[in-house]
C-alpha cells in the first residue's frame, strides 16, 4: 500500500453522507496520529469547513485563461471564431470574445495566423488552504453564477500534500465534476442510503466509475431493515465497507455542525472499522 494514498468519497445521490464520512475519517485518522489532509472538491457547495472549522492561512484566486484579441494585429480572418468549439468567439467586424463561455483551451491562440491573441486570467473562484488542528485542509469555492466547476476542482487537487493521506470530498452526481474529483485516486468510497433513490444513483455512479478502473467500496449510511443495497453490492462484487445505523441523534448533531465523536462515542468504533476496511483494500 502507498504510504499516503488518495481516497475519494463520492456518492451519486446528494445528501447520503459524503461530507459526514470524509470529515469524520479525517478526524479519526488525525486522532490516531496519522498525517491527513481533507480536500473539499464540492466547489459549488463546500461544507467540510462547517464541521472541521479550519484556520485558513492561504487564499488564492483561481482563474482560467481567456483570449484577448489585439485589434491592430488582427487580420480578421475569422479562424479563431471557427475553431472555438464553445462558441466563445463571434466573428463580426473583428472577433468578439465571450469570456463566460470560454473553457480556456487555447485553440484560438494556436490557430491565429497573425499571433494576435494573448491570454489573460479570468477569475472563477478561490482555493483556500489551512488546517483544522492537525488535519491539513483545502477547499475551493466557485463564484456563484460560474457554470464550470472542473477547472477549480483540478486546482484544489493541486494543493494535495505529498506526505499525508488525502481525503477528497466529492460533489454529488455522476458527471464531469465527480469525474474531475476522482481521477487519479487510489480508492473511491461510495456512500449511499437504503432507499430506491440511493440505490439507483449508486448504480449510476458505479457505471461511471467502473470504466475508470478505480477500486471501489460502498458504505451504507442510515442503514435499516431494507437490504436491497447490500444485495446490489453482492451482485456487483462491490465491497461493503461499513453500515452506519439510522439514528435521529446523528441528524441532530450534524444539523448543528458538530462532529459526532463527542456526543456519540460509539462512532469512533465505526470509523476505526471503516479505516481498516479501506486500508485492507489499498
Amino acid at each position: 500500500m502507498k504510504p499516503f494514498p488518495v481516497i475519494a468519497i463520492a456518492s451519486g445521490k446528494g445528501g447520503t453522507g459524503k461530507t459526514t464520512v470524509a470529515v469524520h475519517l479525517a478526524a479519526w485518522l488525525a486522532a490516531q496520529g496519522r498525517a491527513v489532509q481533507y480536500l473539499d472538491c464540492d466547489v459549488e457547495e463546500p461544507n467540510g469547513h462547517l464541521f472541521l472549522k479550519p484556520v485558513i492561512d492561504t487564499t488564492e484566486t483561481a482563474s482560467i485563461p481567456v483570449p484577448i484579441v489585439n485589434a491592430e494585429a488582427c487580420i480578421a480572418c475569422g479562424k479563431c471564431a471557427r475553431v472555438c468549439e464553445f462558441n466563445a468567439i463571434a466573428m463580426l467586424k473583428k472577433p468578439l470574445v465571450f469570456p463566460e463561455l470560454c473553457h480556456g483551451c487555447g485553440a484560438c491562440v494556436l490557430v491565429c495566423p497573425a499571433g494576435a491573441i494573448r491570454e489573460e486570467p479570468r477569475a472563477i473562484g478561490v482555493v483556500e488552504s489551512g488546517h483544522a488542528g492537525s488535519i491539513a485542509f483545502a477547499q475551493g469555492r466557485l463564484n456563484v453564477g460560474e457554470p464550470m466547476s472542473p477547472p477549480l476542482i483540478r486546482k484544489v487537487k493541486a494543493r494535495r500534500m505529498s506526505e499525508a493521506i488525502a481525503l477528497l470530498d466529492a460533489p454529488p452526481g455522476t458527471s464531469c465534476p465527480v469525474v474531475a474529483t476522482v481521477r487519479g485516486a487510489d480508492f473511491v468510497v461510495l456512500v449511499t442510503e437504503p432507499t430506491p433513490f440511493g440505490l439507483h444513483d449508486l448504480s449510476l455512479a458505479v457505471d461511471t466509475l467502473r470504466p475508470m478502473d478505480l477500486p471501489l467500496g460502498v458504505i451504507v449510511n442510515r442503514a435499516d431493515e431494507d437490504r436491497r443495497v447490500q444485495a446490489f453490492c453482492r451482485d456487483q462484487n462491490l465491497p461493503l465497507l461499513a453500515e452506519l445505523p439510522d439514528d435521529r441523534r446523528v441528524a441532530e448533531t450534524y444539523a448543528r455542525g458538530e462532529l459526532l465523536f463527542e456526543r456519540l462515542p460509539e462512532w469512533r468504533g465505526f470509523f476505526d472499522t471503516l479505516w481498516k476496511q479501506i486500508e485492507a483494500r489499498l
Binding site: 451519486g12 475553431v83 468549439e85 483551451c105
Partner: protein, 302 residues
C-alpha cells in the same frame, strides 16, 4: 402556461420526493426531470416511454494509434490532462491516447497533430424521453456515464416540456431540478416563473441556501423556500427562514421529518398518494402556499 422549478443547493434535501407529491397535486401539468445527472423522479412516476431521442453534444478526440508518430505534441498542448503516453507492445514504440472521461472536446490536439492522426467525432452524450405517467406527460433524460455538458440537456428537457404543455393545452410545467449552483442548475432556472428551494435545518443547508439564493437573485427569479425535516433542528429552521427573507426569498412552509417519506418511496409512491397523514398535510400546504405566492406576483413582462 407557467413553469415552476424545484431546486435545493445542497443535495439530498428532498427535492425529488416533494416534486413527486406536487406532481400528484397539480392538475394539468407536464412533469420534467431536470436532474439529468442522477434522475430519480421516474422511480416514483413510472413513466411509459412514448418517444426517445439521442442527445448529441460536443466532440471527443480519439488518436488513431496506427497513425500516431509518438511525438507527444498533443499531450503538450492539452490543458485538461487528457492525453497520456503508452508503449506499443509489438515494437515498444511510444504511442499516445486520449482519456475520454477527461477530454474537454476543445480540438486543440486535433489542430496541433502534425500528421492529422486525431479523429474528432460528435459525442453522443445521452438520450431524452417523452413519456406518460399517471400524473401527466413527462419529459426526462439520461446522461451517459461520465458525460459532460448537462446544462444543454437540462435546457432541452425544459424546452420540450414547455412545447408539450402548449401542444396538449396544459397550463403548468413542473421541473425537478439538480443540486448545486453550476451549469445544470443555471440551465434549470433561467427564465422560469418561480423557483422553490427545498432546504434542510442544518448548518450545511443554511450555508448552501445562501449560495443558491445569490444565484436566483442574480437571475431575478421569484424564489420561495421550504424547510424539509424542519423538526430535526427547529431553531435552525427559524434562522434559515429569517435569512431567506433578508435575501428576498419567501418561506412557503415547513415539512416535518417522518419515516413515512422513505416508506412511500420504497412503495414507489409519492407521500400524497399513500393516504392521509400529517406529513401529507405539510406537503399540501407548501404546494398551496407556493401557488399562492406565484399568483400574487406581478404579471410577467413580455
Amino acid at each position: 402556461m407557467k413553469e415552476f422549478v424545484v431546486i435545493s443547493g445542497k443535495g439530498g434535501t428532498g427535492k425529488t420526493s416533494l416534486t413527486a407529491s406536487f406532481a400528484a397535486l397539480a392538475r394539468n401539468a407536464v412533469l420534467a426531470d431536470g436532474d439529468v445527472d442522477a434522475a430519480d423522479l421516474h422511480l416514483i412516476l413510472a413513466p411509459e416511454i412514448r418517444r426517445r431521442t439521442e442527445f448529441r453534444s460536443g466532440h471527443a478526440a480519439r488518436i488513431r494509434a496506427d497513425a500516431c508518430l509518438g511525438c507527444g505534441l498533443c499531450a503538450v498542448v492539452c490543458r485538461f490532462e487528457a492525453i497520456a503516453a503508452t508503449t506499443r507492445p509489438a515494437d515498444e514504440t511510444r504511442v499516445f491516447s486520449v482519456d475520454p472521461s477527461a477530454c474537454e472536446g476543445c480540438g486543440v490536439c486535433v489542430w496541433k497533430c502534425p500528421v492529422q492522426a486525431i479523429d474528432f467525432k460528435e459525442r453522443i452524450c445521452g438520450e431524452w424521453f417523452v413519456s406518460d405517467t399517471r400524473h401527466g406527460p413527462m419529459v426526462h433524460a439520461r446522461l451517459y456515464p461520465g458525460a459532460e455538458n448537462s446544462g444543454k440537456l437540462v435546457h432541452l428537457v425544459r424546452e420540450q416540456a414547455r412545447q408539450l404543455a402548449n401542444q396538449e393545452n396544459l397550463d403548468l410545467v413542473l421541473v425537478d431540478g439538480p443540486p448545486g449552483t453550476g451549469c445544470p442548475v443555471i440551465a434549470a432556472v433561467t427564465g422560469t416563473r418561480s423557483v422553490l428551494v427545498v432546504t434542510e435545518p442544518t448548518v450545511s443547508g443554511a450555508h448552501d441556501l445562501t449560495r443558491v439564493l445569490e444565484l436566483t437573485n442574480h437571475f431575478n427569479i421569484p424564489t420561495a423556500i421550504c424547510v424539509n425535516k424542519w423538526d430535526i433542528h427547529p431553531e435552525q429552521a427559524d434562522r434559515i427562514e429569517a435569512a431567506a427573507r433578508v435575501a428576498g426569498a419567501t418561506p412557503v412552509g415547513r415539512v416535518r421529518y417522518d419515516k413515512a417519506a422513505t416508506a412511500a418511496q420504497r412503495q414507489g409512491l409519492a407521500v400524497i398518494e399513500v393516504g392521509a397523514s400529517p406529513l401529507a398535510d405539510d406537503i399540501r400546504a407548501v404546494w398551496k402556499n407556493w401557488i399562492d405566492f406565484t399568483s400574487g406576483m406581478p404579471k410577467e413582462t413580455p
